[in-house]
């Protein structure tokens, strides 16, 4: 057999690695800022571009899509070429992919602080960027499939299976969740409303974790861990079984983010049971990783690369056991909306993704620069400081989450809530927030140490842009032997189709009935579309990221109904959200739930509270929103807002868009006159007026229903 000389493209890997390190530092620094803002509200700087509500999505997008995303591409491009014995399909596509992705990140870094957001978690970017993501993702896919097609290795290794699953599933998730109706160039409304929007969003959100943060990283683990340990992979059959069960089961688990909400019970139960069934498939990956180290544990003690990988895989195992346990209803009742969830995702993010990335970088950079690691001492220091950082991040958040949740639920002997004032439960856990920031600082310090170490390493070697390899061409006659799966590994197209089918089943079974069967969202006659002024207010609520700290979903618990609607006694119903494009249920209560806030306080209370929250509620950690009093709503787009919403199904009558601004002015003037009586002056076009209108409308329609039935 004649050997062929080929060159692996290291330059593209280098580019993605540089982006990884830069955005890692940026994303984590922004996260640290957000962490500090939570106990030191002055760090919001009274500036709209730096207030927590806009900083939080900037942090999540930066670490997920820029840091973890770029590292994923670096890992995939490095390992795939070698596993398939082929240079990437097309160098131009590689570079379009690289620069396209960086431009998307740049667009995110500009639009998110400007408040351009869809408010859907991990999918905040507005529609033009959504389209760009879809295009670049397809470029990545073509480049990947192309490389697989022209491979010189007959069978596809398990890492490649995971890359394929990643590509097809993320494409489906992103496209389905991003159906939205543009209003302006950077403003759109979700095509789905309320319960349906919530289900689609968490089907997406959960599987973004699964197929963006998990499957590609499992693939990378399957390449870099056996390479670094120089050991054979523990079990081929375990790979097969855990791969297929993982991708099939994962997709069903989204509804566990919506337990006890207005989501239909059957969907909630599916979310619970599939989450439980996910334990073994996830642990299959952990076991295959850890058992691969059998016989190499003595080296784990010295080698920082292996240490990082061991902690990464262990963190993966912990997080994937914790996740299913959090999906049990009785556990979820306590942990949902609390900082426990924040701790949970950070064990995954800092431990699994972060540490696997660090391990990979320490292993790959000396090889790409044809040298030795500059300092293994510094690498070990990074390891310990990072581990300490994770512990300091997670433990306080676990404690804080449980403490706060128990305070929310505690009744005094007289049958009333013991901590009736929400703020008491917040101030109680502020010390935990401080500790969390300490943990974050430690972790970030580690990243700086790594950056220095890697720069020094690169400087001591010479970069190999095109790594030479001698490979045999793929045998013409495909072997006929092997079990059925081994045969499948020779057929990339069939494999891709089967993976797609596996991930589509769960999604279709959960989504389609929720959309088609009416009884899943019982209607409430008194629930009416928002007025034009309220719509503007709602857009401001979305822009400022209020949903990051305030839920709009009162669960059917006595403690929540008592806290949020003691007089009406209503938990949140599915029918109340039918005109909510997008839904704003939220997933974290740093502040109280707002679904029944309408009519609870006077307009003037809101007016003062948004300006000086810390004075109106002493000790409040909410940022101030002074710009809402200076900026004016854009009445020119009222008509397009009405039109867009009508297109997605909100029943505004024909021609209403032309009269909408008259109604808007009337409602605004009423509010302004009321405020004047209290001695508060403001223009009727000020954003604060619209926001007050929206807040006062929240959750009030259902009360009219009661009045109607009583009469």
């Amino acid at each position: 057999m004649e050997l062929e000389k080929i060159h692996y493209d290291n330059k593209i890997v280098k580019a993605f690695i540089i982006a990884t390190v830069i955005f890692g530092i940026v994303g984590m620094s922004v996260g640290l800022l957000a962490a500090i803002q939570l106990f030191y509200p002055i760090a919001n700087f009274d500036l709209q571009y730096t207030s927590f509500g806009r900083i939080r999505p900037l942090h999540t997008n930066a670490v997920i899509f820029a840091f973890v995303g770029n590292a994923m591409f670096a890992g995939v491009y490095y390992s795939m070429q070698r596993l398939l014995k082929a240079r990437m399909f097309n160098d131009s596509l590689s570079w379009i992919h690289f620069w396209g992705w960086q431009l998307i990140i740049l667009a995110a870094a500009i639009t998110l602080p400007l408040g351009m957001t869809t408010s859907k978690e991990y999918s905040e970017l507005e529609w033009p960027i959504d389209i760009a993501i879809a295009l670049i993702w397809v470029v990545f896919g073509i480049n990947m499939i192309g490389t697989i097609i022209k491979r010189r290795e007959q069978h596809m290794y398990v890492a490649i299976w995971f890359y394929i699953a990643t590509f097809v599933t993320v494409a489906v998730l992103h496209i389905v969740n991003s159906f939205e109706m543009p209003v302006t160039l950077f403003k759109s409304y979700s095509a789905y409303a309320g319960v349906q929007d919530a289900l689609v969003q968490w089907w997406y959100g959960h599987n973004a974790v699964a197929f963006f943060l998990t499957t590609p990283y499992l693939g990378m683990m399957y390449y870099f861990l056996p390479k670094a340990a120089n050991r054979p992979v523990y079990s081929y059959r375990l790979s097969i079984i855990h791969f297929w069960s993982l991708i099939f089961i994962y997709i069903w688990a989204g509804p566990h983010h919506l337990l006890y909400t207005a989501l239909p019970d059957w969907a909630q139960s599916l979310g619970v049971v599939f989450s439980i069934m996910l334990i073994a498939p996830s642990w299959g990956g952990m076991l295959n990783g850890l058992f691969t180290l059998r016989g190499a544990w003595d080296r784990v003690r010295e080698d920082a690369v292996l240490k990082f990988m061991v902690v990464a895989v262990t963190a993966y195992g912990m997080a994937t056991l914790e996740g299913p346990l959090l999906s049990l209803k009785n556990v979820n009742a306590i942990t949902h909306y609390t900082d426990w969830i924040v701790a949970h995702v950070h064990v995954g993010g800092l431990g699994w993704n972060g540490f696997l990335i660090f391990g990979m970088l320490y292993w790959v950079i000396p090889r790409m620069w044809n040298t030795k690691l500059y300092s293994s001492k510094l690498a070990n220091l990074h390891f310990w400081i990072g581990t300490l950082g994770i512990v300091f991040y997670a433990l306080p958040m676990y404690i804080g989450g449980v403490v706060q949740s128990l305070m929310w639920k505690e009744f005094a002997a007289d049958g009333f809530l013991k901590y009736q004032n929400f703020l008491e439960t917040t101030t109680q856990i502020l010390p935990m927030y401080i500790l969390r920031a300490v943990g974050g600082t430690l972790y970030l310090t580690g990243v700086f140490i790594m950056t220095y170490n890697l720069l020094k390493t690169a400087a001591s070697g010479k970069f190999v842009a095109n790594e030479e390899a001698e490979v045999a061409p793929m045998a013409k006659v495909t072997s006929t032997g092997g079990n059925w799966h081994h045969v499948l590994e020779r057929k990339p197209v069939l494999f891709t189709v089967l993976a797609l089918v596996a991930v589509l089943i769960g999604g279709i079974i959960e989504l389609v009935p929720t959309f088609l069967i009416k009884s899943n969202v019982p209607t409430i006659a008194s629930v009416k579309p928002y007025t034009p002024l309220e719509l503007h207010g709602r857009d401001i609520y979305i822009r400022e990221g209020c949903v990051g700290c305030h839920s709009q979903m009162i669960r059917p618990f006595r403690s929540e109904v008592q806290r949020y609607d003691p007089k009406g006694g209503e938990y949140s119903k599915a029918g109340e959200y039918v005109y909510d494009h997008p839904f704003l249920w939220g997933s974290k209560r740093t502040g109280p739930d707002l679904h029944r806030t309408g009519g609870k306080y006077a307009d003037s209370w809101h007016f003062r509270h948004m300006l000086t929250p810390g004075e109106v509620s002493t000790g409040s950690i909410m940022p101030a929103y002074p710009w809402l009093y200076e900026q004016q709503i854009n009445k020119d787009i009222t008509a397009s807002m009405i039109n867009a919403l009508r297109t997605v199904g909100v029943p505004y009558e024909e021609g209403y868009e032309d009269r909408a601004n008259e109604d808007l002015d009337k409602q605004a003037n009423r509010i302004v006159e009321g405020l004047q009586l209290e001695g508060l002056e403001t223009s009727s076009d000020a954003e604060i007026v619209a926001l007050i209108a929206y807040l006062q409308r929240l959750g009030t329609d259902i009360k009219l229903e009661k009045v109607a039935t009583n009469q």
Partner: protein, 306 residues
């Protein structure tokens, strides 16, 4: 490694101690007043001692184990036999429960796969892992059966109704046995004992101070320390305003948020602030309140309490 763990625990211990103290200053109910404090300290102390004893015991066990091994090794060396360590019970159990193929037989299960130098073994699935998978599948089927095919376990709304039923039963019992649960504006009286007024003050600081200021001098809401009242200054009238709020103003209804007893306490506390002359008070609103003859006795009681 050990040093780091020790450092970590100390640091964390210090930090949580700080947590207690900050919580103390942040909330009005002091941690140090908690009657359970001694209990917590004792339990915490016992816990720490138990952990320490366990650690020492474990360490001694390790040392002992090491010494025994050392002795056996020396003896076998003296006898000229090559020393081979007997695998521990746990490591045997571990190997067995994972169904590991022994390392020395590994080449028998090495597959002919080779991807960029990565080889693959064909180890069995760990039996406990397969078992776990089956158990979760059975759990899933049973879960769906119990919740959706039979009515054995309550779905969320039913669960809520059950919770409400229990709470209502409790409330009924309490109303019957405890008259303070049935206070309303017709039978509210001024309370004067220090404990009740302290409770009233706590309620005032957590709920009322955001609009009426900590000293009652008024901000969003009116000054509560002067003689002027918008809706009457008797305890009944104040209670009524607290309970039902005032439509069209910032005063919200507190019924349901706080218990009638607490509303009585806070109304009484508000009356104790009269004449306290805080700095920078809000200008008077409403009219000068003169008590009606039948409430005179109440007012004298208040003055007596001051």
């Amino acid at each position: 490694m050990k040093r780091i763990i020790v450092f970590l625990t100390t640091l964390f211990g210090l930090a949580t101690a700080g947590f207690g103290q900050t919580a103390d200053t942040a909330t009005t109910t002091s941690l140090w007043d908690d009657p359970m404090l001694t209990f917590y300290i004792v339990v915490g102390f016992i816990f720490v001692v138990v952990v320490l004893v366990l650690l020492v015991a474990l360490y001694m066990l390790q040392v002992l184990n090491f010494m025994v091994k050392q002795a056996t090794r020396e003896r076998s060396e003296r006898l000229g036999i090559t020393y081979q360590e007997e695998p521990s019970f746990w490591s045997k159990l571990w190997d067995k429960s994972n169904d590991f193929v022994p390392m020395e037989k590994e080449k028998d299960i090495l597959l002919d796969h080779n991807y960029d130098g990565i080889r693959e073994l064909d180890n069995h699935l760990p039996p406990w892992w397969t078992g776990l998978f089956y158990v979760t599948i059975v759990f899933a089927l049973a879960y769906l059966g119990f919740y959706h095919l039979s009515d054995t376990l309550p779905l969320p709304i039913k669960e809520y109704e059950n919770e409400l039923a229990v709470a209502e039963e409790q409330a009924r019992k309490m109303k019957a046995s405890n008259p303070v649960a049935a206070i309303d504006e017709t039978n509210v009286t001024i309370v004067t004992d220090a404990l009740a007024l302290a409770d009233g003050k706590t309620t005032f600081l957590t709920n009322c101070a955001s609009c009426h200021r900590k000293d009652g001098g008024g901000d969003i809401g009116p000054n509560l320390t002067d003689e002027y009242w918008k809706h009457g200054g008797s305890v009944q009238e104040i209670f009524k305003v607290v309970r039902h709020g005032v439509q069209g103003t910032n005063m919200i209804a507190w019924e349901g948020f706080i218990s009638p007893e607490k509303m009585q306490n806070v109304s009484s506390y508000i009356l104790t602030m009269k004449g306290s002359n805080p700095e920078n008070p809000k200008k008077p609103e409403g009219e000068i309140y003169t008590p009606k003859p039948e409430t005179t006795s109440d007012t004298t009681k208040v003055q007596a309490s001051l």
